[in-house]
């Protein structure tokens, strides 16, 4: 009996593979004398997103914007304080839905640190066979699965199956992590800065491999990175985060070609140019991102925004549909009270 057949699609191609609604995660931090006063890091606040079947959703933002918290919420390494998730029509962790274990069979994750995410005492084959065995695959079949997985990620099984993580290079270890994520035949893979620690020449190899695997195995990706160029290369849609909030969300062409939010614009023009004749002469915005503890009122970007006005401090801008993308900025909301907004 093979308990690990590929999972059948249910709702058809139009039904989102993953739908997260109103996700919130706050972390209390102890402070003050004897840790009595507690402050709250608002890592993710009221975040709603959907991932369509077969797409790559890119998530970008600076450190502390909550992009890794989103990844951990989507695979339930963190339990959200609020909000619901639906996987291909099934509510997650609810009476008539699927369990968290069921979710993790279908959603897998690859982390940034390729060494820390492998058990140093297990050989590559043992690591890759672990989950299939735990799901009841007989030893012989698990061995076959391991060989198959290693070939898929471009590592020769005869050469690598019996090695330990420390005997591999960073690029090879990340290939093993990707193979492990594929071991249970998931439908969605969350890649959290999965290529960020790799050298450029190796990064290109792994990116090519991710593109191939996606087509071959009919996968859906959530690709989280601080590298705007890599996100542009891989993603169909892009979500831009700032201090726990979505500031802009839309197709990759719209976000990169016609960014609407001042933060997205700043982020894009802060990229070093690859042309020495077109060097950057002025930084698009000044200062560092503020601490996610006690974020600014209203629009969280207003403290660094060149267009900030009174209304930005008072009212939080909703994520509203613009022409091709959704933008959370008062300048794009008719009648918001911002001087650059259209009249209602």
């Amino acid at each position: 009996m093979d308990t690990l057949l590929p999972i059948q699609d249910r709702g058809g191609p139009a039904q989102p593979l993953l739908l997260a609604t109103g996700l919130r995660k706050h972390f209390p931090v102890a402070g003050g004398l004897f840790g009595r006063t507690t402050k709250v890091v608002r890592a993710v606040d009221d975040l709603t997103l959907s991932v369509a079947k077969g797409e790559t959703l890119g998530v970008v933002g600076e450190s502390g914007c909550g992009k890794s918290t989103v990844a951990r919420l989507l695979i339930r390494l963190l339990k959200p304080d609020k909000g619901t998730m639906v996987l291909d029509g099934d509510p997650v962790d609810e009476p008539h839905g699927i369990t968290v274990n069921e979710l993790r069979r279908q959603v897998q994750m690859v982390f940034q640190d390729s060494y820390a995410s492998l058990n140093p005492r297990l050989t590559i084959a043992e690591t890759l066979a672990f989950a299939p065995r735990a799901h009841g695959l007989p030893a012989a079949e698990a061995r076959e699965r391991v060989h198959d997985l290693l070939s898929k990620v471009g590592l020769d099984p005869a050469n690598y199956a019996t090695r330990y993580p420390h005997e591999l290079s960073g690029g090879q270890r990340q290939r093993v992590n990707i193979a492990r994520a594929l071991a249970l035949r998931p439908r969605l893979i969350i890649l959290d800065e999965a290529v960020s620690a790799l050298d450029k020449s190796v990064e290109a190899q792994v990116l090519n491999m991710l593109v191939d695997l996606k087509t071959e195995l009919d996968l859906t990706y959530v690709f989280i990175s601080h590298d705007l160029n890599v996100v542009q290369y891989l993603s169909d849609r892009v979500l831009v985060m700032y201090l726990g909030k979505i500031v802009e969300l839309g197709p990759v062409e719209a976000i990169y070609g016609n960014p609407q939010h001042p933060y997205t614009r700043a982020l894009l023009s802060a990229r070093p140019s690859m042309d020495p004749r077109k060097r950057t002469h002025e930084a698009p915005i000044q200062g560092d991102p503020p601490n996610p503890i006690d974020p600014p009122s209203g629009c969280r970007f207003r403290t660094r925004c060149p267009f900030a006005e009174d209304v930005c401090a008072r009212v939080e801008p909703p994520l509203a549909d613009a022409k091709f993308q959704a933008v959370a900025c008062h300048m794009r909301v008719a009648g918001s009270g911002h001087s650059k907004a259209m009249a209602a």
Partner: protein, 320 residues
């Protein structure tokens, strides 16, 4: 322009009871006053080891070196400890990737900068503190008087990196060494720090060696770019030339494999394999095992760094 720094045939080997690593294998270059040289390379290419050799920051008992590093005529590799400590900070100074670990957590930023000023110039406590405040102002830290009293952990990453630049420039060095100073910073902060370094470099006519793995960053700050692979410079050229017409197969591969605008939907050109283990000195071109243009004479002898045109040198048998 006269050359302030001359590095000739530098070799650096680390020896431990378990293993030997030939980190730098014959690096030579010059740097002029007021020039920024970008050294580009992947992890393990020897770029940071080369940089740290200029300040002799490697543990003495485990490091073997040969060759020559001359700063304004003085041989750094022969310097006695006293001369070395005068060199560090006063003539050559360095900024690091992780400012959080480069500062002492139990002293304020002001105390640490003032201490350096006092040690090198003999100024009084009050004068040194005044100098520290001026320095923080110079690196555009808002409200510098208050920031003097801040501890490193109370500052953001970008502010700490600015404070480290202030510390590095506190004794008016002529040569600034930068080891991936913006790698740990966010995108919108990275560009601010790069612009600051460029501005200060011009203002004080500094020689700068900027080590990075990020081609975009190197292009943004450098006058010349040197590409390192397996402990050797494989190519050195003015920045425009390096971007427009790189000659060495490794430099070409590195530029082609870097994802940038307009590559969507295309297959990335990648360099197969991984960099070599540096336990042994390679007998031929170290890139030969990964090179698609490899031919017999590549492995016969180490190719020399030859000029293909003025100021553009390539270490490859194919370069004409």
């Amino acid at each position: 322009m006269t050359n302030m720094l001359q590095v000739r045939d530098l070799h650096v080997t680390f020896v431990t009871p378990d293993r030997t690593v030939h980190a730098v294998n014959g690096v030579s270059f010059d740097l002029a006053r007021g020039e920024t040289l970008g050294i580009l390379g992947e992890s393990g290419s020897g770029k940071s080891v080369t940089l740290r050799s200029i300040l002799r920051l490697h543990p003495e008992h485990r490091t073997r070196w040969s060759g020559s590093i001359k700063l304004e005529g003085d041989e750094i590799l022969d310097m006695a400890p006293r001369a070395l400590s005068d060199l560090r900070g006063q003539r050559v100074s360095m900024i690091f990737q992780e400012p959080a670990t480069a500062f002492d957590p139990v002293f304020t930023i002001g105390q640490q900068i003032a201490e350096t000023v006092r040690r090198h110039t003999g100024k009084s406590q009050t004068e040194s503190m005044k100098r520290a405040k001026d320095l923080l102002e110079m690196v555009r830290i808002p409200s510098p008087a208050q920031r003097l009293k801040a501890y490193p952990h109370e500052m953001s990453g970008g502010m700490r990196q600015r404070a480290m630049i202030a510390l590095a420039l506190s004794c008016n060095p002529t040569l600034l060494l930068a080891d991936e100073p913006t790698t740990a910073l966010d995108a919108t902060v990275q560009i601010q720090v790069l612009l600051l370094i460029r501005e200060l470099q011009r203002e004080f006519n500094l020689g700068v060696i900027f080590v990075t793995h990020d081609i975009g960053v190197a292009v943004e700050v450098s006058d010349r770019i040197g590409v390192m692979y397996a402990g050797k410079l494989v190519e050195m050229a003015p920045v425009e030339r390096m971007v427009d017409a790189p000659q060495h197969p490794y430099s070409r591969g590195l530029l082609a494999s870097t994802v940038h605008d307009g590559m969507r939907g295309q297959r990335l050109e990648s360099i197969p394999g991984a960099p070599p283990d540096l336990a042994e000195v390679p007998s031929g071109c170290s890139f030969a095992p990964r090179c698609k243009f490899v031919r017999p004479d590549c492995t016969a002898a180490v190719p020399s760094l030859r000029d293909v045109e003025a100021a553009h040198a390539v270490r490859c048998v194919l370069a004409a």
